[in-house]
Every structure is written in C-alpha cells, then in structure tokens.
C-alpha cells in the first residue's frame, strides 16, 4: 500500500511528466472514448437537468458520447469523491455547485478529499437566482418593512431551508447578520417540503430560487432578489441593495464543471471553450431561464478564483454562526 502523501507525490510527478509531453497533441486527440459527467445528486432536479443539457452540447461538438451518471448522497460528497480519485485525463468530470465546493468544505472536516487540490475548475455554467420570499400573510410589502418587523419581533419568525448547511440555510444566516434580526432556522429534508411549508405559512420566510414559480402564482411574496443584479424574468423585483439592505453579502448560487486535480492546461482550455459554446446555444439559454437561472461563461481561471472568494465568504459566516455538521 502506498501512503496517501506518497501517492500524491507520485501523482504530481506524473502530472509534471505530462506537462513536459507535447500536450497539444494529447488535447487535440481528446476525446477518443465516452466521457462521464458525474452529477453528485439524485436523478431529477436542477443539477441533473443542467448536466444533461451540457452533455448533449458537448457530445455534438466533440463527437463522443458524454454520459451523465447520478451518484447522489452525503450532500454531494460521494459523487465528488469519485471524481477527486479519478485520473485527470478529462474522461471523468463533475457537475459541481456552490453547495459542493464553496460550502461543504467549510462545514465539515470529514470529506474524504481536498476540495481545492483534488479538483480542477473547468467552466462556470450557470448562475441561479435566489429571492427572499415570505408567506403572503406576513405584514410586510417590501424588504424594508420586513426587516423592521423582524427586528421588532426577535424570535417570532422562522425561515425554511432544504437542510443543514445548504445554500438556503447560509442565505438565511447572511440575512440575519445583515439585518440584525433573529429569524429561527427550520431545516427540511429537501426543497419540496420546505417550499410546501412556506406556501402553507408554517414558516414565514425562505431564501432561494426553488419557489419562484409558486411566487409568480401569488402564493409567496417576493421582496427582493439576492443576486447582484435583477432577474430578467422579474424585472420589477429590486436587488437587496436597491431595497435597502446593501449589507447582505451572500454570493449567488452557481453550477459549473470541474475535473480531477492536476488536469493539463490544454485540456482544460479545450473543455472550457466547448462547455461555454454548449451553454451559449440559444436553445440551452432558453431552457436555463425556465429554472430561474442565467447562463454565465467565464475562463477557467476566473471560475477558479470565484470558487476561492466564495469559500471565504461562506467560511466567515460559518465561523460567525458556528454552523457545521456537528461531530
């Protein structure tokens, strides 16, 4: 048996050796066999749908099948682990999200991989919109009124999330910090039950994009979008800054493509360009819109630094609110 550090060292040597090779040739030949895109969540849902759109686009451009494989479980760490341990040859890719790569490493120490070293950022795909939604029975018609109400009655309101350490949970805590309010967190198992209880009024608030359709039917009142710019689908909904809570600093939710750590530069570039092209296809752009999201393409480096910045933001709040998977 090799010790992990020894194996890593060998991996680095191998990676260095690969760098020295004429990688242009290698990247040009790629792909010569089917490529796996691992979705670290169960079939169905936003990540799965995105991965299949991307796979179709990549397949058309590269002429090899891109196969989507669902490996759900443990907040996405099971699927991520598979990719972390795969060879960095571009044949095993990961559909990652804010949850798996900016949040998870900050709330648990039990991950079987290193979230930075064991992955190579390839392409940002999508930025999803989140909104502050309140039950229509809450006596606040705009964000300012709600903040005042929440401050005046500490401990009276609750907010829902789809689980401990999910994006909804963090966004709720970002809100409590920014508004100086004390809204109690209520965790649910997944987004279905949480949205259901928001609509029914068992909880009063939620931050996320899961309830946008329900809100458009008037069953949830949207006070603001938490993204830095307004959503084209709801141009009348102000941003947090416009609505008077500029202190709110939760970074937007994203989905993107990652590979195993130490992928050769050329390969990353090639995949980045192909993914960006696939996502910019007008039909894909339309479909992405239906899920309260917009297509966002960046260079691989810009994507990498985005992940780093976000990890810090989430890490700060996790420390401040002592949010973690209890151990």
């Amino acid at each position: 048996m090799m010790t992990p550090s020894r194996r890593r060292a060998l991996g680095l040597i191998a990676a260095a050796a690969l760098m020295a090779l004429p990688q242009v040739v290698m990247a040009q030949a790629y792909p010569t066999k089917p490529v796996k895109i691992i979705v670290p969540f169960a079939a169905g849902g936003r990540a799965d749908a995105l991965a299949r759109m991307l796979a179709q686009g990549l397949q058309e451009q590269m002429g090899q099948p891109f196969v989507v494989e669902n490996r759900g479980g443990a907040s996405g760490s099971l699927g991520s682990d598979l990719v972390a341990k795969a060879p960095p040859d571009g044949y095993t890719l990961l559909l990652a999200s804010t949850g798996t790569h900016a949040i998870l490493p900050k709330i648990t120490t039990k991950l079987p991989y290193d979230s930075d070293r064991d992955f190579t950022p390839i392409a940002l795909m999508v930025e999803s919109y989140s909104f502050i939604g309140v039950h229509p029975g809450v006596k606040a018609s705009n964000l300012k009124e709600f903040v005042d109400l929440a401050r005046a009655k500490p401990g009276e309101f609750n907010y829902a999330s789809s689980g401990v350490g999910t994006y909804n949970h963090f966004a709720g805590e970002f809100f409590n910090i920014a508004a100086g309010s004390k809204i109690t967190h209520i965790a649910y198992r997944g987004s279905g039950p949480s949205v259901n209880d928001l609509v029914a009024g068992h909880v009063q608030m939620m931050i996320g994009g899961e309830f946008i359709e329900v809100a458009q039917a008037g069953k949830v009142r949207i006070l603001a979008t938490t993204n830095p710019q307004r959503w084209p689908g709801l141009p009348d909904v102000p941003t947090m800054k416009e609505a008077g809570l500029a202190e709110f600093s939760a970074p937007p939710l994203w989905f993107g493509l990652l590979g195993p750590g130490g992928m050769p530069r050329e390969l990353v570039e090639k995949l980045n360009q192909a993914a960006n092209r696939a996502m910019s296809d007008p039909k894909t752009v339309e479909r992405v819109k239906a899920a309260a999201s917009i297509v966002r393409t960046e260079s691989a480096d810009a994507f990498g630094s985005l992940i780093k910045t976000e990890q810090k933001a989430f890490g700060d709040v996790a420390r401040q609110t002592n949010m973690k998977f209890e151990e």
């Binding site: 196969v67 494989e69 669902n70 209890e326």
Partner: protein
Amino acid sequence: MDPLNDSKGRAAVAPSEPAPASGANDILLGLLFAAIGAFALYVGRNYVFGTTQRMGPGFLPRIVAGALFLLGITLMIRGMFARGWAPPAIVWRPIVLICLAVIVFSSTIDRLGLFVASLLTVGIGACAAQEIRWKELPFVALGLAVFCTILFGYALKISMPVWPQ
C-alpha cells in the same frame, strides 16, 4: 361486529396469553433485540440528548434503543416461563451462500463490470440450491450474464460499468 372481541384483541399482551409453541423463540428473539438495543446505546453514548423542549440528535436514539433493550429482556423472561424448548432449525448453507453472492456482486460491480459480476453472483448463488446440477450451472450463469449485459448494458444503456475497467 364487536371490535373488542375479535381474535386479534384476545391475543394481546397478557399474562394469560397462550404460550408460544416454544420458549426458545422468545428467548432468542429477546436476546437479539436486547443485544441490538445495547449496542445502539453503546454506539450512541455520546450523542447529545438535549431537553424535551430542545431535543438533541441523541434524544430519540437513546429512547428507542433503551426501549428495544427492555423489550428484549421482557421477551427473554417470558420465554423462560414458557413450556418447551425447540429452537428453530436453520440450514446455514443457502443463507451463507446467498449472502456471499450478493456481497460478491457489490464488491465487483464497480471494477469488473456487469458481465463478470453477474457470472460470479449467479455462479455462487446457484450453489445454494439443494441439489446442484453441475452440468446446468455454467449455462444458467452464462445465459443470465449475457441476458443482463445486453438488456441493461446495451438496450437500456444504464450508467453501470459493463466490462472490467
């Protein structure tokens, strides 16, 4: 119909309940329950119990495991007072071989793929039969492996390794 007087009700917990066929089953089942309960209590000894108002993650585990343990003890006591001692006859060979076959599938599927895993599973599993027909066995194993490989690997294209990686 009088719901209070049906046969189900009459079989409810009572000291006068007709004794089961053998006390051995009660004692063994009680032992199993008590052992699992005690094990869970031990594993969960550090889980935060919390208060009734603010229950911790250890609240229900402690109560459920404790109840299971006590129930096991009760069953054992009841079994000791029952007449007769006839432990159930268990034929271990099929049990062990079937378990083994499933475990072999679980440990080979990711690396060796569907075809090989199927061959091994059926090969081992088929040996659990009372009379093994050695001439038939290879054909059954091969036939099933080929059928599953074609159906799941190629026709349905499910995401599962088909051949050794």
